[in-house]
Symmetry: C2
Subunit: 198 residues, 2 copies
C-alpha cells in the first residue's frame, strides 16, 4: 500500500489500476480495490475518473499509448523510408509480442478491455496508421514508393500485417518460423509499395 500522504495523481491511480487488474482480472477488479491499493477512499478515485468505465478506458489508453510512443521515434529517425517502414513494423510486432509474452495475464486482461472500449482502440489504430502514413508519404515524396494515396496505403499495410500485431493472433507469435513469415509479408508489401510500373 502506498503512503497516503503522496499526492494522488491520475497517473498514480492508473498505475494502481493496472496492478489491480493484473491481480484480480478484468471481471473482478473494482474501484474499491484500486482505492484500497492506494490507501485512499473510493471518492478520491472518482474525483479523477468519474466512472469505473472512464477508469478502464483511461488505463487501456495508457497501455496502448506506451506502444505508440515507442514507435513514434522511428517515424522521425534517420534512414530511408523503406528502412523506417521495416523498422516500424518490426518494432510493432516486437512490442506486442513482448507484452503478450512477458505478462500473459495482463495481456489477456487488456485484450478483454480493448473489446469493451472500441473508441480508444479506434483512436490507437488511427494514431498508428498516421505514423505509418508519414513514413510512406516520405517515401512517396522521395520517389522510393509509388503511392498515390499514402493514407490508404498505410491502412492497407497495417491491415495486411495484422497477423503480427493483432491480439487475436497472439498464440501464433511464438510458433517456429513466425519471424520468417513476418519478413515474407513485409517484403511483399514493400515490393508492392515500391513498384514503379504497371
Amino acid at each position: 500500500m502506498a503512503p497516503p500522504t503522496e499526492t494522488l495523481t491520475a497517473e498514480r491511480i492508473l498505475e494502481a489500476t493496472e496492478e489491480v487488474l493484473r491481480r484480480h482480472g478484468p471481471a473482478k477488479a473494482t474501484v474499491v480495490d484500486v482505492a484500497r491499493a492506494l490507501g485512499v477512499s473510493h471518492g478520491s478515485v472518482y474525483r479523477h475518473f468519474r466512472t469505473k468505465a472512464a477508469l478502464r478506458e483511461a488505463v487501456t489508453k495508457r497501455w496502448l499509448d506506451r506502444t505508440a510512443e515507442r514507435l513514434a521515434g522511428i517515424v522521425v529517425a534517420d534512414g530511408t523510408p523503406e528502412e523506417r517502414l521495416r523498422a516500424w513494423l518490426a518494432a510493432l510486432f516486437e512490442a506486442k509480442r513482448h507484452k503478450a509474452g512477458d505478462d500473459p495475464e495482463l495481456f489477456a486482461t487488456y485484450t478483454v478491455l480493448t473489446d469493451e472500449v472500441g473508441t480508444v482502440v479506434g483512436e490507437h489504430i488511427a494514431d498508428l496508421t498516421a505514423q505509418l502514413t508519414r513514413i510512406i508519404a516520405d517515401g512517396a515524396g522521395s520517389g522510393t514508393f509509388a503511392v498515390p494515396d499514402p493514407a490508404a496505403a498505410a491502412r492497407a499495410v497495417f491491415q495486411a500485417t495484422g497477423r503480427f500485431h493483432d491480439p487475436c493472433y497472439a498464440r501464433e507469435w511464438t510458433t517456429p518460423g513466425v519471424d520468417e513469415e513476418f519478413t515474407a509479408v513485409v517484403d511483399l508489401l514493400v515490393r508492392g509499395l515500391s513498384s514503379r510500373s504497371r
Copy 2:
C-alpha cells in the same frame, strides 16, 4: 426425425450433427442428441465415429471443405493468374462473410470447434495455401509474377489477407468501406507479386 429405415451413412450423421450443433450450441450438443435426431441408438453413431471428438472433428472438416471445394474451381478456371488470384481471394472473403452473416449461431459454433481441432484447421489452411500456390506458380511460369518461391508467396498472401477470411475479424466484415479495404490490400499484394525490378 428421419425415418430409421434409411441407411445410416457418415454423411447423414454429419448432417444431423450440424443441425444438433445449430440448435444446442457446441457446449451442450451430445452424441445422444445426434442419435435421437436420426432415430438410431448412440451405438450406431459410434460405429461411424468412434468418439465424440472424432465426430466434432469430422463435422468441422466437412464445413471447412465446403469452402475449399468452392474455391478449387477458380484455380483451374480460365483467366490470367492475376485475375484468378483476385477472384480466388474475393471468393474466399465472400464465402466466409456469407457463412458468418447467413447463420451467425452456426458460425459462432464452428469458431468454437475450430479452436478445438487445430489439426483439421491446419490441414484446411494447407489446402487453401496449396490452391493459392498453384495460381501463383502459374503466374511465375508465365512471367506475370516475379516470385522465386510460389509456396512462400502463397503463405504470405494468405496471411496478409487474414482480415478478410479469419473468423476473428468476422465483426469487421459488414462495416462500411470493408470492400474498399479488401481491394486496397489485394492491389498492394498483386503489385508486390508483379514487381519486376528491385
